[in-house]
């Protein structure tokens, strides 16, 4: 287990171990990497696939084919295995990750967490000696995390798990814990889970269960019913009634396609609502419905305009709701931080000095680098902060952050929530971290298979 706050070099280390750096990035490297008798730096990455397996931090970047089974089979074909062997391994791996029902589906229909599960299935099929999981567990639900860790334990393979957070579940599985700071790796001698261990991590800027702002107990879901059942609309910013949505094409090889059904949901100004749920339970689908990127099949979404709750069409929701995608790169396009932050303000026809002032404010609030810094060279976590800065400046009445805590440290994410918490506005954040949800949100809702639990 290697713990490091964002921007400390976790991905770089992973890629060095997999033989990808400096081959693809350039740069200077000194010293040696030894995997038993193998020296990855002297070999091509494709020669190492049965030795080292890497799951990228962003699953979308690693998926190559148009079917889930083809995806798992791809490295096995490269290894030259017999077809019958490939078929067996594909079936076994997909089943292990509970993806058998998506076998003939495109990986594009999978949710972010399910895509990570598919990439893990690829590694299961190859079964390399060393597994490198670059923040792979971040977007997985608790059940899948445990399932994966159990599976790795049974296989007795060496696994390096890189994470920006310490989860309690790691205590049961981590044999060794390392800390990475400013490019330096050092072993943690304190036993995981002990008071000394927690103190060390706290000193290094990690927020732990039971410490600081995050309580040890999972959130109470009882409060969710208050949100769904209230009869007064005072202060309500957005309300959902009898919402039903079904994907046109089935997400799985099942008789009925995925459906989302919400009887009633509302969020009031000044409130923070957390939505939790397993991978594929419909969290992002709900987010996309609330910002008008998907149109409900039945029911209605109402938003407060001119003091009255009114039925909202897609364009109204586009203007009303800001939505931070899971992948920040889909929302960042321009060459500099300044350009990125200023774009929306320019569309509002604000004068240049006002734009400069607001951009500087966002840079300071979100801890961004100078305005002329290129986003493409910034770390994943900083790009997420930039993405948040863009929407902060747009001042939407409702903000939705989709798994924003992935790739950010707990305190960075907590800070982001604090920034968006506003008496006049509302915030919904989607997360797998139950404790974080309980600590930061006023109310927590859990989605299970497209329905609120």
């Amino acid at each position: 287990m290697l713990l490091a706050r964002p921007d400390q070099g976790k991905t770089t280390l992973c890629r060095v171990l997999a033989g990808l750096i400096p081959r693809f990035s350039g740069g200077e490297i000194k010293g040696e990497v030894c995997l038993g008798p193998i020296r990855p730096l002297d070999r091509e990455p494709y020669e190492l696939i049965d030795q080292v397996g890497l799951v990228f931090q962003h699953p979308g970047e690693q998926l190559l084919t148009s079917r889930c089974d083809s995806e798992v089979a791809f490295p096995l074909e490269s290894m030259g295995l017999a077809r019958s062997e490939i078929q067996q391994r594909v079936t076994r791996s997909l089943r292990s990750m509970d993806l058998e029902r998506y076998r003939y589906q495109s990986p594009k229909v999978l949710s972010g967490g399910e895509r990570k599960k598919l990439l893990i299935a690829c590694l299961l099929a190859v079964d390399p000696h060393l597994w490198l999981l670059d923040e792979t567990l971040e977007e997985l639900d608790r059940g899948t995390k445990r399932q994966l860790l159990e599976l790795l334990k049974d296989r007795r393979r060496s696994t390096l798990i890189l994470s920006a957070k310490w989860h309690d579940i790691f205590r049961e599985y981590a044999d060794l814990v390392y800390l990475m700071e400013e490019g330096q790796v050092r072993p943690v001698r304190e036993k995981p889970g002990t008071r000394d261990f927690h103190r060390l991590l706290l000193n290094r800027g990690f927020v732990l269960p039971g410490e600081g702002s995050v309580p040890d107990q999972p959130p109470s879901l009882a409060r969710a019913h208050t949100t769904r059942g209230s009869k007064t609309d005072a202060g309500i910013l957005l309300e959902v009634r009898d919402l039903f949505f079904r994907y046109e094409q089935g997400r799985a090889e099942t008789a009925s396609p995925f459906t989302l059904s919400i009887d009633r949901l509302h969020i009031a100004a000044g409130k923070v609502l957390a939505i939790i749920g397993d991978n594929g339970s419909g969290k992002s689908t709900l987010g996309r419905l609330l910002c008008g990127l998907l149109a409900p099949g039945e029911g209605e979404i109402r938003i407060r305009r001119e003091g009255v709750l009114q039925r909202a069409e897609a364009q109204d929701l586009n203007r009303f709701t800001g939505y931070l995608f899971q992948d920040p790169d889909l929302q960042i396009f321009l060459p500099t931080v300044f350009e990125e932050l200023a774009l929306g303000l320019r569309h509002l026809n604000l004068p240049a000095p006002e734009i400069n002032r607001r951009v500087q404010e966002a840079v300071a609030l979100f801890g961004l680098p100078a305005g002329d810094a290129p986003p493409s060279l910034m770390s994943y976590g900083t790009r997420k902060q930039l993405q948040a800065g863009v929407y902060y400046l747009l001042e939407r009445p409702l903000m939705i952050i989709d798994e924003g805590d992935s790739g950010l440290s707990t305190d960075d994410f907590s800070q982001m929530v604090r920034i968006f918490r506003d008496r006049e506005r509302a915030l919904i954040f989607i997360t797998h971290d139950h404790r974080l949800a309980g600590a930061l949100a006023d109310e927590v809702l859990e989605l299970k298979a497209g329905r609120f639990a």
């Binding site: 890497l54 089979a73 910002c291 203007r319 992948d327 929306g344």
Partner: protein, 268 residues
């Protein structure tokens, strides 16, 4: 267009037709559409293609590629006759021939040819799984690297399409503000006239291009992490038809090719 086709996987007889047989038919039609034969003859071939596509994929799917190339077809109609005014005049103004019969026939030939080629590729690519494509290329002894690159390129098109959708959504949300109708419509390219839609799609396309270029090194890493480049022979998880099924599809392909060639000989 290809992305739209890939996005709509089907289970028609054309989808089950062997890709090698489809390749033979593709080649035959391509040659025919380039032959200097009569326009009405080309029109018959195009009609056959439209009929086959309509029967197996439905009228809506058949019209989709034609709709996409419609702007080009309109340009051909508008620009070809003025530049080919030789032969019998059809429209003259003060002794100046503006449109001649041969100019009009040439425009018609180009339209039929372009539509036919588009439709035949649409049917081939749209009804064939990328994994089967690569196997078909390898069966024809195409170099492995070429097959892989082609298959990956075709397989990556839906990814680019998905990227386009995501970026369009991002633009739609980010640029949506009161009084910003133009910005919103930029992310809603289905509204308005064709040229307006094209103009408004430019910011989204630019963003997609930037993201795609940015992903090249990562894609290369992903490929090598999956073993692309290894020296050992690559095996295949997918298989093509064998035995009677293959022979039957092969016979259909060869019979079709023979019938088409005979028609050219009989009606030159």
């Amino acid at each position: 267009m290809i992305a739209q086709v890939f996005a709509k996987r089907g289970a028609s007889a054309l989808h089950h037709y062997d890709p090698r047989a489809k390749a033979v038919n593709l080649l035959t039609f391509l040659v025919l559409f380039f032959l200097p034969i009569r326009v009405w003859h080309l029109g018959v071939y195009l009609s056959v293609l439209i009929m086959v596509s309509g029967i197996f994929l439905g009228l809506r799917n058949t019209l989709r590629p034609i709709r996409l190339i419609l702007p080009i077809l309109i340009l051909v109609v508008l620009l070809t006759p003025p530049f080919h005014r030789e032969g019998d005049p059809l429209l003259t103004v003060r002794g100046l021939t503006l449109v001649s019969v041969s100019g009009l026939l040439l425009a018609l030939r180009l339209i039929v040819r372009f539509t036919g080629i588009t439709l035949v590729f649409y049917l081939f690519i749209g009804t064939t799984d990328p994994d089967e494509l690569i196997l078909a290329f390898r069966w024809f002894r195409a170099p492995y690297a070429v097959s892989l690159v082609l298959s990956l390129a075709l397989g990556y098109i839906p990814t680019i399409r998905a990227l386009y959708d995501q970026v369009r959504d991002a633009h739609r949300l980010r640029l949506a503000a009161e009084g910003q109708a133009a910005a919103v419509s930029a992310a809603r390219p289905r509204a308005g006239g064709l040229f307006k839609r094209l103009r408004e799609a430019v910011p989204v396309l630019t963003s997609v291009l930037i993201l795609s270029v940015r992903r090249i090194p990562t894609l290369a890493m992903a490929l090598e992490c999956r073993g692309v480049g290894r020296k050992n022979p690559r095996t295949s998880y997918h298989t093509l038809k064998t035995g009677t099924a293959f022979l039957l599809d092969g016979a259909i392909a060869l019979s079709t090719a023979a019938a088409l060639i005979t028609s050219v000989v009989l009606f030159p």
